[in-house]
Amino acid sequence: MSTSPERAIPEPVSQEDGVQALSHSPDSLQARVQRTLEAAQARGASDVQAVVSHSVGLELGVRKGEIETLEHERDQSLSLIVYFGQSKGAASTTDFSDQALIDTVEAACRIARYTEPDPYAGMPDPAFKAAEWEDLDLDHPWGCSAVEASELARTIEAAGIATDARIENSEGASVSTRRAIAFLGDSQGFMGGYRSTRHSLSCALVARDDAGMQRDYAYTVARHAEDFTAAEQIGHEAAERTVRRLGGRKLSTRSCPVLFAPEMARTLIGSFTRAISGPAQYRESSFLLSAVGEAVFPEWMQIEERPLTPRALGSAPFDGEGVRTRNRPLIAGGVLQSYTLDSYAARRLGLETTGNAGGARNVTVAPGDKDFAALLGEMGTGFLVTELIGQGVNQVTGDYSRGAAGFWVENGELQYPVEEITIAGNLKDMFQRMVAVGTDVDRRGNIHTGSILIESMTVAGD
């Protein structure tokens, strides 16, 4: 492969003027999508879809007051899917030279000559494509310079270390900022793209007592830096979360109520969204197989997908196939309303695409009327889970067994930290035995939920 004279030389990301400049313009990215589509069609593809994306970012880590890492990121990629009738091929590259574009298109076409016709393969029905879309307020360049980032990280870490004398070590504080742009186009005439940003602050600390060391962390992540939790607060939170784990004990093996803190409750809802995804359904590898219309949660449970929420981390105006996304119920009155499908899965199942190529977005569990303290009170005596480790979830059967750490609770009050135990059950049963969802909703991700209380699970320990 030779280098093309047209190959763009990356411009340095301008930090001084407060703008996170992207080094490829929207016009040049769209033109690249267009050239890819044309090249594939010229080679006989009956349909083609192409995505060109680009991002710039800065990640800075401070440990014990000194800069530890400073990483400048600049990514680009081109990917395409071609159809020759019902045969499909896909290819991608990070090389933006003209030659690489041709090579990548040819690789996809070559693959499609060998793959076997699949009656369900193809592009989405044009009627479902997004024709126009509103600005979801996802692009908020921060323009944080490396110097500013280092000051911010130092502030976070120093606040954390100063919180408690038992914080004796640090894994550091970090500041990350990223701006991305992507365009999707297809041979049916769809062309759409948008810019988005994602910034975060985090801190991880280590505390020690006679029994040993514990580590924990805190973070904030947002599209707009003005939505951050305050830097000092991140440090304090990391310190408090770390120190409170000191002196953890095992529990004896028992059955008891389990309260999942919001960031852990999110993983339960994650298993739910995987179970209702198209591939899990058509591969018959879901514990919620063919469950639309069934009461998979208690009657009070409501879960929606809200891809059109302004500024939210999971928002997108259209999916990975250009199909318009829409806010819609997944669970109403405890009953499963719909799967999450792209056009392929929809055809396999004899249904319509739900705009979920690329997954479910901003899956939102409706909070109940109790805050975290009230949920602890409702549990009375039981186990509060604040950390889960390992995989331990069988998506085919729903069997669930994971390592856990947290706190033993009596009379609604935390008694002592707990570690080196497992919690186990079956997700189908755990969903049915959910008692309440808290108002303490965590929005730092693609799943938004408060704490979830489950009536009973098996705790294995001593």
Partner: protein, 480 residues
């Protein structure tokens, strides 16, 4: 001598010769800089997938770029470019070295490092090792074997993946090293159904070779039969026990225990920073006598093996635990320098766009002298776990888990019935002190492991003999 393939793939297209590389080095490194590298990488990879009996999709991916890393003291500056060309590289170099305030030093001479031993894998491109039709035929055979193995098989999903990677590492001292790395993998998942109950089984393998590896020794068909066997066992599985009990681990892949319980905690970065439960414990008894654990990147053709690590240093066999005593950590250059030791050839990175750090290669426990049958016969009441999914560890507290996907109840020295998958949890620094019997059947895994650390995945291997551990917490649902 620069490897000609690396030269043609990475340097020639951009017109980079000794003079340009000297200029790049001089711009990037020099006085006041302790280390770092320019890491050039080209990789092409493909994946063919079969579902519903047909190979309906495949993908092909090419990545090319250079990562420039400047290390001073405990500080690292890093930038990368998808464009291997002088202007882009000099810009990245300037950005990476903004971490250091030292002056530039003009030019640094380039000297190729000669390989220290015969290569562990052939430099051939695995993507070319079979033609497209033969790749498809291979997947179809796997499908046919799995479906033919039992009428209860309802779904078969399998995939064949290959990576061809060429790296050229130019370090701050001007030393140039190259490596050409093949990697192949075949995976099978089946779903079986009986009386409305559905279970899955998975199997697979691979290594640093071409696809013909799967045609040899009946491997591909073997994976298919193995996946079906596991799924059928799970159809009969009863609730797993909950609580602390004796656990017998089978040989091979259950060595994921060592990877989680011991391996990560012995990586140099955590120990240099004092955040590992093993920090400062060299020379202490952390495992039962008779236990020796090594990390060995020099095994021919293994998934976790490398001729040189991603800093250009030859891999080696590093003794981590010898007769139960903690002997050493796994190091990359930066952490070795800061701890006053030498790199153990464990500096690895996912790609040119990520920073290297100490990572495992193939981590395994040497065999003992107990007959595996004898080990099982010695257990009055416990669990026998022979297959696992993945695991995870909290380095600082030492708590780790690994999740069984095939396990059996052992009663009065006999394997009685299969139980559902369950997570096993323990404490890294003391779990191996409870090993009471070590089998004579040391086995490496089939080549399926990918280790994740700070978001970077790298291929690894594990292995161990049958082990009896007197007291691990088993996370089932059936209280004893």
């Amino acid at each position: 001598m620069i490897d000609s393939l690396a030269q043609q793939t990475l340097l020639d297209p951009a017109g980079l010769g000794d003079s340009e590389l000297s200029t790049l080095l001089g711009t990037t490194f020099g006085r006041g800089i302790d280390g770092g590298d320019c890491y050039f990488q080209f990789s092409s990879q493909e994946r063919w997938s079969l579902e519903d009996g047909i190979v309906k999709s495949a993908s092909f991916n090419i990545e090319r770029g250079v990562g420039i890393r400047v290390v001073r003291g405990e500080q690292t500056g890093f930038a990368y470019s998808d464009d291997i060309a002088m202007p882009a590289m000099l810009e990245a170099a300037k950005t990476a070295r903004s971490i250091a305030d030292a002056g530039q030093s003009g030019r640094i001479a380039v000297a190729s490092r000669a390989p220290s031993r015969p290569v562990l894998y052939a430099p051939d491109n695995p993507l070319d090792s079979l033609d497209e039709q033969a790749k498809i035929d291979l997947l179809k055979e796997v499908d046919a074997v799995a479906r033919g193995a039992d009428p209860r098989v309802t779904q078969v999903m399998c995939s064949l993946a290959g990576v061809h990677e060429v790296v050229l590492i130019l370090n701050a001292r001007g030393e140039l090293t190259t490596d050409v790395r093949p990697l192949v993998r075949l995976n099978v998942q089946v779903i079986v159904e009986q009386g409305g109950r559905r279970e899955s089984g998975t199997s697979g393998g691979g290594g640093r070779s071409g696809y013909r590896y799967f045609l040899e020794a009946d491997r591909a068909a073997g994976y298919a039969r193995e996946a079906v066997r596991q799924a059928l066992v799970n159809l009969e599985a009863r609730e797993a026990p909950a609580g602390t009990m004796k656990v017998v681990l089978g040989p091979g892949w259950p060595g994921v225990l060592l990877h989680e319980a011991i391996g990560h905690g012995l990586e140099g970065d955590f120990n240099r920073k004092g955040t590992s439960a093993f920090s400062g414990r060299i020379g202490e008894q952390v495992a039962a006598k008779g236990i020796t654990i090594v990390d060995d990147g020099t095994l021919e053709g293994r998934r976790g093996s490398l001729n040189v690590d991603d800093e250009g240093n030859p891999t080696q066999q590093t003794v981590l635990i010898e007769d139960g005593v903690l002997r050493g950590y796994m190091q990359d250059e930066m952490n070795a320098r800061l701890m006053g030791v030498h790199s153990t050839g464990n500096g690895r990175r996912e790609s040119y766009a990520r920073l290297p750090m100490p990572r495992m290669t193939n981590t395994y426990m040497l065999g003992g002298d107990a007959d595996p049958e004898e080990i099982l016969a010695s257990v009055d009441d416990g669990l026998y776990a022979v297959n696992f999914g993945g695991g995870q560890v909290d380095i600082t507290s030492g708590k780790f888990v690994f999740s069984a996907s095939e396990a059996y109840r052992v009663e009065k020295g006999k394997v009685t019935y299969p139980v559902k998958g369950a997570t096993l949890i323990g404490n890294g620094p003391d779990v191996l002190t409870r090993v009471s019997m070590i089998g004579n059947d040391m086995k490496l895994d089939t080549g399926v492991g990918t280790c994740g650390k700070e978001g970077q995945g790298v291929p690894v291997g594990v292995g161990q003999p049958t082990l009896r551990i007197d007291g691990m917490t088993v996370g089932g649902t059936q209280a004893a």
